[in-house]
C-alpha cells in the first residue's frame, strides 16, 4: 500500500503536460484527424465529441491495461493485442451507450450521438497501444490517457474557433472546403511548437 501511495508525482505531471501540449494527439501525432476535421465546425459539437473521447479513452485504458498485463502477457498472447484491444473498445462503447441510455438519459442525449463515432477513432486505440509500448504503469497510463484526451479537447476547441473565423474569409476557389481547413490546421500545429521547451524545464 505504501508503495502505491508513494508514486512519482513529478513524473505524472510531466506525462500529463507533455500529453496535452507537446505530443498533442491531433496536431503532433496525427491521431483522430477524422473527427478533428469533421466535427470541429461548431463549438458545442466539438466540446461534446471531446468529452466523449476523454471518457472512452479513460475507460478503455482502465480495461485494456489489466488485460495486457494479467491476461495476454502471462499466456504469451502478446500478438493478440490489436484484435483484443479493438474488440474491447468496440464492446465498451456499445456498453456505455446502453448504460447511459437506460440510467442517465440526459447525458445520453448530450453524448450519445458521438459515441458510435469513437469506435473507429484511431486516437482511442492509439492511446491504449501507446500506453503498453511506452511501458507505463497503471497510474501513468491513466494519466497519459487523461492528458491525451485533454489534448484532443484543447485542439478541437481551439480549432473550432479558428474555423468560425475562417467562414467569412475569401478563399481561392480550389482551396474552398477541406484544403483551407488543412492549411489552417498546419498553422495551429505550428503554434504548439512553442510548448516544446516548457515541459522539459518544468521542474528545473
Amino acid at each position: 500500500m505504501e508503495e502505491l501511495m508513494h508514486f512519482d508525482f513529478k513524473g505524472l505531471v510531466i506525462i500529463l503536460m507533455s500529453a496535452v501540449f507537446v505530443n498533442n494527439y491531433v496536431l503532433q501525432r496525427f491521431l483522430g484527424i477524422c473527427p478533428f476535421l469533421g466535427v470541429s465546425k461548431k463549438l458545442d459539437q466539438a466540446t461534446g465529441m471531446s468529452i466523449a473521447v476523454i471518457f472512452v479513452m479513460l475507460l478503455a485504458t482502465a480495461v485494456t491495461w489489466p488485460i495486457q498485463y494479467y491476461l495476454l502477457d502471462p499466456n504469451d498472447l502478446g500478438y493478440m493485442q490489436t484484435i483484443v484491444f479493438i474488440l474491447v473498445i468496440a464492446a465498451l462503447v456499445q456498453l456505455v451507450e446502453i448504460v447511459l441510455k437506460k440510467y442517465v438519459p440526459s447525458l445520453h442525449a448530450a453524448l450519445g450521438v458521438y459515441l458510435p463515432l469513437i469506435t473507429t477513432n484511431c486516437a482511442v486505440l492509439g492511446v491504449t497501444i501507446l500506453n503498453i509500448t511506452e511501458n507505463y504503469d497503471f497510474a501513468a497510463s491513466m494519466i497519459n490517457s487523461l492528458g491525451s484526451g485533454l489534448g484532443f479537447f484543447l485542439a478541437m476547441v481551439l480549432f473550432s474557433g479558428v474555423r468560425s473565423r475562417m467562414e467569412g474569409g475569401d478563399t481561392p476557389e480550389a482551396f474552398k472546403g477541406l484544403p483551407i481547413t488543412l492549411v489552417a490546421a498546419s498553422i495551429v500545429s505550428i503554434s504548439f511548437f512553442g510548448f516544446a521547451g516548457v515541459i522539459e524545464h518544468l521542474f528545473s
Partner: protein
C-alpha cells in the same frame, strides 16, 4: 462495370486519399519519408486485398446487424498477420511505422471499402477494387512523401539532392508540413479536375463507415444515437 474500370478507378478518379479523403491519419503521419510511404502503402494494400476478399466471400453469411464488428475482427486478424510478417522480415520498417502499423485496423479506407464495395460485389470484383484502392493509397502517400522528403530533408529514397540537402526546410517533415502539403495537394486535385471530383463543401464522409452517425449529428441535434 467492367473489370479494368474497377481496378483503375482507385488510382486517380476515386483516389481514396485525395478524392474520397479516407485514411487521413496514416497519410499525414507516415509521409515523412518516401520509403516509409511505400512500406505503409503496401502493408495497407495487403490488408485491404485480404479483407475485401474475405468480406465479399462471407457477405451472405454475416448478419447485417453485426456486420461492423465482424468486419473489424476480420480486418484486425489480417493486420496482425501483416504486423508479424513485417516484424520478422523488415524490422527497420516496423520501427519506422511504429504505432501506425496496428492502427491500420481503424484506417477508414479498409472499413470504408468493406462497407461501400465488398459487401455488395463478387469476390473477383472486390479483389480488384482492393488492389486498385491500395495502389491509389500507396500512390498518394508516395507523392506526398516525395514532396515532404525532398523539401524537408533534401533526400529522396536514400539519394541526396545536391542543393536542397544544405538548404532543407525541416518544418516540412514535421507535423505542420504534413497538414500543409496535404491541403495543397487536395487543392491541386480540385483545380485540375475543376470541381469534377466529388464536391467537398463539407468534409467528405461518403466512404466513412460511421457516416450514418455523423450525418445524424449534422442534421439533428440531441437526437438518439444509434449503432453505426
Amino acid at each position: 462495370m467492367n473489370k479494368l474500370k474497377i481496378l483503375t478507378k482507385g488510382f486517380i478518379k476515386e483516389n481514396p486519399v485525395l478524392v474520397l479523403v479516407l485514411g487521413t491519419c496514416p497519410t499525414l503521419a507516415v509521409s515523412t519519408q518516401a520509403s516509409n510511404a511505400i512500406g505503409m502503402g503496401l502493408a495497407a494494400t495487403v490488408v485491404l486485398l485480404c479483407s475485401n476478399i474475405a468480406i465479399s466471400a462471407l457477405r451472405k453469411v454475416i448478419p447485417d446487424k453485426v456486420r461492423i464488428p465482424c468486419y473489424i475482427v476480420l480486418i484486425a486478424g489480417f493486420v496482425t498477420i501483416v504486423q508479424m510478417l513485417i516484424k520478422a522480415f523488415a524490422p527497420e520498417l516496423d520501427e519506422q511505422l511504429g504505432i501506425y502499423l496496428p492502427l491500420i485496423v481503424v484506417n477508414c479506407i479498409i472499413l470504408g471499402r468493406a462497407e461501400m464495395f465488398a459487401n455488395k460485389n463478387t469476390v473477383l470484383d472486390s479483389a480488384l477494387d482492393g488492389i486498385g484502392m491500395g495502389i491509389g493509397f500507396t500512390l498518394a502517400l508516395f507523392v506526398m512523401a516525395t514532396i515532404r522528403e525532398i523539401l524537408g530533408s533534401g533526400t529522396w529514397l536514400g539519394m541526396e539532392i545536391p542543393v536542397l540537402i544544405d538548404n532543407n526546410i525541416s518544418i516540412m517533415t514535421l507535423a505542420p508540413g504534413g497538414f500543409f502539403v496535404f491541403g495543397c495537394l487536395i487543392a491541386l486535385v480540385n483545380k485540375i479536375s475543376k470541381g469534377k471530383t466529388i464536391r467537398k463543401d463539407d468534409f467528405s464522409c461518403r466512404g466513412c463507415p460511421s457516416a450514418a452517425a455523423c450525418g445524424k449529428l449534422k442534421s439533428a441535434e440531441g437526437g438518439e444515437g444509434s449503432e453505426a
